[in-house]
């Protein structure tokens, strides 16, 4: 029986299938009526409320904690501190524990009297109402022995070092290809620029929340706002010393994540412990200020990029250095160099990371970790090169177009970047742009047009799904994935409908529970590809079982046919050679007196995958060709800004994003994701910045009133399109994922537009009015 190839040909737009169509969200009704239940919204008998008391200092030691007044308050059930918190089987406080837990941070609060960062939890108060717990928390009196903290890597006392690896060991601290130093020295054009990126916080609208219910002394259910129920299950079980299946994690609806809900942070396990301590369910929602010190952030960082080129504009060398702040325990830096290593053809490349320890919590992955700030550096420098040589910024990118992956020499599995450039330029009206910077005016505004390239890898991932097809024509499809709002519920319903040949309203798709088959974290843009492929493979398992049934059934038109001669088209099992001969699955199942057929499947994603079609397409003399591809999405953003020269304000007035990202599962939700990622990037470009006081190592704007994210009035109409791309190598469904590429290059496109408007280059994000005014004054 054929598997993957037939799917491409028999479904999708115009073929009677629903994959790719702009269907309304299947969870839309629940969300617009307020029925969708998020993790802090489960009404449980005996529910109590947990509130964290956090540290007033950033470094030092707790001398004493007076909990008496809090404990006496009516309704207070427990005041837990490092002195009375039950001990865990394992903590992330040592390297072995951290690895076993999969913890994002090598430190768990309430395990000692040490204070390492401002906002570190020092007590957890549980009471019968939220108000009583909050009030009692204010009564806990902590005495500290305060030491002077280190605020960032810029602090002269910060220990700055060359790590062997960064990003929890995933990225080498130093990479070299060719001979970049010599090549740079010999280059006709040499540019050196330093880029600064502010601290950013994810700030999903739903704060991190945990509701923990112990059903037995060794069994707990956790309603958790997480991007991965299985990862949370493993973390919590490991810390508790329980078998993994004794911990159930449920996330039916998730109010955004953007990376900060990807790993299991301290408040989760602390809430689970508190529920055990009080013998009742405990719910803990982080406050918005606590969101700035509880679930990671994008680190403050400086990048220096040296670029060498010929006088014709061909890159000869790229040397990238990044220095950033990390916590006292971990070597975390987002891997900016990866995208710089592969975006353009360049024979010589070098990157290095430096870290400075400070009194902050560990930073973490935030939408397009590495690619977002890395693309800001390379895409601004490419713009510099274009202006210096008098070449159009789009042309300079085409001139350095990478026909294969420069970082490893492998061919791309697919790449539609040239089409993205061309379509974007056409829709945007790039040709109308004045090649000179700083000369286009519209009334009081300086007008600028900028563009930048986007790219994001197809990461390795795998997952499983279960499909149960009923003889009455409906199906239940299950996988333990999560839907951050990206549309997982909807697109997976579409995939299952087509794979089973039934209408989408006949599919019930369930996710977000560790009782379901294991799926990967929704992160790194892997969910759409992995989960859809799992469902597709599970459907194939159903068809294989039904085919076997049919060819053994004397009453079936397919009796005694060879299994390999049978194909499935829109729910009918038919002979490949004579498609009129066959029957509907329902008829077959009813005759066999079975109510349903269940199948399971594993979907792989990324470079480990070798599809049947890939093997068929591969050159037989090169056996490994299918697995020997570099797998990435590509795209281009085009931006127009208007800069008020008197006030220094920058407004994005037009936006065009074009992406080639494999198969698009739903045109409507995909467009929303690209719009959303672009807006996320516009935020980082123009307004997002968390200020950490250099003396107190404390955030001074930890609220949504002072940490500015884009509002409706900041955003214009946006144009989004996708280039039709059939990639046979990446996974069974040919899906690359679009959650993160939507943000890559956005800040550079804005910064390049600002340069075109003003003729002044601002290399420090965010580009706030003060920086614009200063640049114009020079």
């Amino acid at each position: 029986m054929d598997t993957e190839p037939t799917f491409f040909e028999t479904n999708g737009p115009g073929t009677g299938g629903v994959v790719g169509l702009p269907l309304d969200r299947v969870d839309g009704f629940a969300k617009v009526t307020g029925q969708a239940k998020y993790s802090a919204e489960y009404r449980l008998p005996g529910l109590t409320y947990g509130v964290l008391k956090t540290s007033a200092i950033a470094k030092g030691k707790i001398l004493s904690i007076d909990t008496a007044a809090a404990a006496k308050e009516p309704g207070v059930l427990a005041v837990l501190t490092h002195l009375n918190m039950p001990k865990l089987a394992k903590t992330p406080n040592d390297a072995e524990g951290k690895k076993a837990i999969g913890a994002p941070m090598g430190f768990l609060p309430l395990t000692s009297d040490q204070i390492h960062y401002a906002g570190q939890p020092v007590a957890l108060i549980v009471a019968d109402t939220f108000e009583r717990a909050t009030h009692a928390a204010s009564l806990v009196r902590v005495q500290y022995a305060e030491e002077k903290p280190i605020g960032s890597f810029l602090d002269p006392k910060a220990q700055v070092f060359d790590p062997e690896k960064v990003q929890d060991g995933k990225t080498p601290g130093h990479t070299r290809r060719g001979n970049p130093q010599d090549a740079l020295a010999a280059s006709a054009v040499q540019l050196t620029a330093t880029y600064v990126h502010a601290i950013n916080h994810h700030n999903p609208m739903e704060p991190g929340a945990t509701t923990a219910v112990w059903e037995a002394p060794d069994r707990v259910t956790v309603y958790e706002s997480t991007q991965g129920v299985t990862r949370t299950q493993k973390s919590v079980a490991t810390m508790l010393g329980l078998p993994q299946e004794q911990v159930r994690v449920i996330t039916k609806y998730l109010g955004g994540g953007f990376g900060c809900k990807g790993a299991s942070w301290p408040h989760t396990i602390l809430t689970v412990q508190a529920a055990k301590a009080v013998g009742r369910p405990v719910k803990l929602s982080l406050t918005r200020p606590q969101m700035f010190t509880s679930m990671g952030h994008r680190e403050d960082q400086t990048q220096t990029l040296k670029l060498g080129a010929t006088k014709e504009g061909k890159l000869t060398a790229l040397i990238h250095e990044k220095t950033s702040t990390t916590s006292p325990w971990d070597n975390y830096a987002e891997p900016n160099s990866k995208i710089i290593n592969l975006l353009y053809e360049c024979p010589n490349f070098e990157s290095s990371y430096q870290l400075g320890r400070a009194n902050v919590m560990t930073s973490t992955f935030m939408r397009a970790p590495g690619e977002a700030p890395g693309s800001f550096a390379i895409e601004c420098s490419m713009d510099d090169l274009a202006y210096q040589l008098g070449i159009d910024p789009l042309q300079i990118r085409l001139l350095n177009y990478a026909e294969k992956d420069p970082s490893n020499g492998k061919p791309w599995s697919s790449k539609s970047l040239k089409q993205c450039y061309a379509r974007g330029a056409e829709l945007f009206g790039w040709s109308k742009r004045n090649p000179k910077a700083g000369v286009t005016r519209e009334g009081r505004y300086l007008v600028g047009m900028g563009m930048a390239t986007a790219s994001y890898p197809v990461h390795n991932s795998q997952g499983t799904a279960r499909v149960r097809l009923y003889a009455d024509g409906h199906a239940v499809v299950q996988t333990g994935a999560t839907d951050l709002g990206t549309g997982t519920y909807t697109v997976m319903t579409q995939v299952a409908a087509d794979a089973l040949g039934i209408a989408p309203d006949k599919v019930r798709f369930e996710l977000g529970d560790t009782k379901l088959p294991t799926a990967p974290n929704s992160g790194g843009s892997v969910a759409a590809g992995t989960v859809s492929s799992s469902i597709y493979m599970a459907a194939q398992d159903v068809w294989q079982k039904l085919t076997k049934l049919a060819i053994q059934d004397k009453k079936s038109p397919l009796f005694k046919a060879k299994a390999t001669d049978v194909v499935v088209e829109k729910g009918r099992l038919v002979l490949k050679a004579n498609k009129a001969k066959g029957e509907d699955f329902a008829a077959l199942m009813k005759r066999a007196e079975i109510t349903d057929m269940e199948g399971s499947g594993a979907g792989k994603y990324g470079s480990g995958y070798e599809a049947a079609q890939a093997a068929a397409n591969a050159d037989p003399t090169k056996k490994d060709e299918a697995g020997e591809h570099s797998m990435h999405s590509f795209g281009a953003h085009f931006c127009e800004v208007k800069v008020d020269a008197e006030l220094g304000t920058v407004r994005v007035t037009r936006w065009v994003s074009i992406h080639g990202a494999g198969r698009i599962l739903n045109a409507k939700t995909a467009r929303s994701q690209i719009i959303g990622g672009s807006i996320f990037g516009i935020g980082s470009a123009l307004m997002e910045e968390t200020f950490r006081d250099p003396n107190l190592a404390r955030y001074t704007n930890a609220s949504l009133g002072e940490y500015h994210i884009p509002v409706n009035a900041d955003i214009p109409e946006m144009t989004v399109e996708f280039i039709d791309e059939h990639d046979p190598y990446i996974n069974a469904m040919g899906v690359k994922g679009i959650g993160e590429i939507s943000m890559v290059g956005v800040a550079a496109a804005v910064a390049n537009a600002v340069f075109h408007a003003t003729g002044k280059r601002i290399r420090s994000l965010p580009i706030t009015p003060d920086k614009v005014m200063n640049s114009l004054a020079v």
Binding site: K31, V32, T129, S138, N203, S703, A713
Partner: protein, 211 residues
Amino acid sequence: MSQEPSADSAATTPGAAPTDGSRRSFMKQAGGILGLALAPPLIGQAERFTAFSKTVEGVTEMTLKVNGTARALRAEPRVTLLDALRENLDLTGTKKGCDHGQCGACTVLVDGRRVNSCLTLAVMNQGKEITTIEGLAKGEELHPMQAAFVKHDGFQCGYCTPGQIMSGVACVREGHATTDDQTREWMSGNLCRCGAYPNIVAAVREVAGKS
């Protein structure tokens, strides 16, 4: 600011943490939380809402008229309208995003006006018509604004969505959705981190055009 001690200092007074019925008074509570709202010009209003409860100390009976139904609950006077809806009445459609009136996720209509329900106390809203997201649809039939949000994909994660929709309904009714720019301005009190703004504008535009 009011001269009343804050909730914190009131409760830290030694021996000032007695049993349920005799905790700090509503005025003390409100003094700390509301401050200006209870300054002399508005004291009449304070008297007005105390009239609905016989006692204003500790846990008290109150009645909220939510989505056309009178709902009785027992809660302390310091409970916000938002927490009363979510925790006492199990109307969790109204969301808590910041608890400081900065994000708009908790937007409800009170006597037809949009209000951040995290910035008002439940006890103050007795006798008023409160409309939450749960009160918009008629059974399976969505309110036009809800239907427009689904059609135009005016959300991703859905967490800001109830607040956006309540704001959208009010925005149209206020006459603040006559142009896209005006809509953007008057919808800017509702943050959406997923970045659905162009789709939200499209939804509001459609409803405004029909009404």
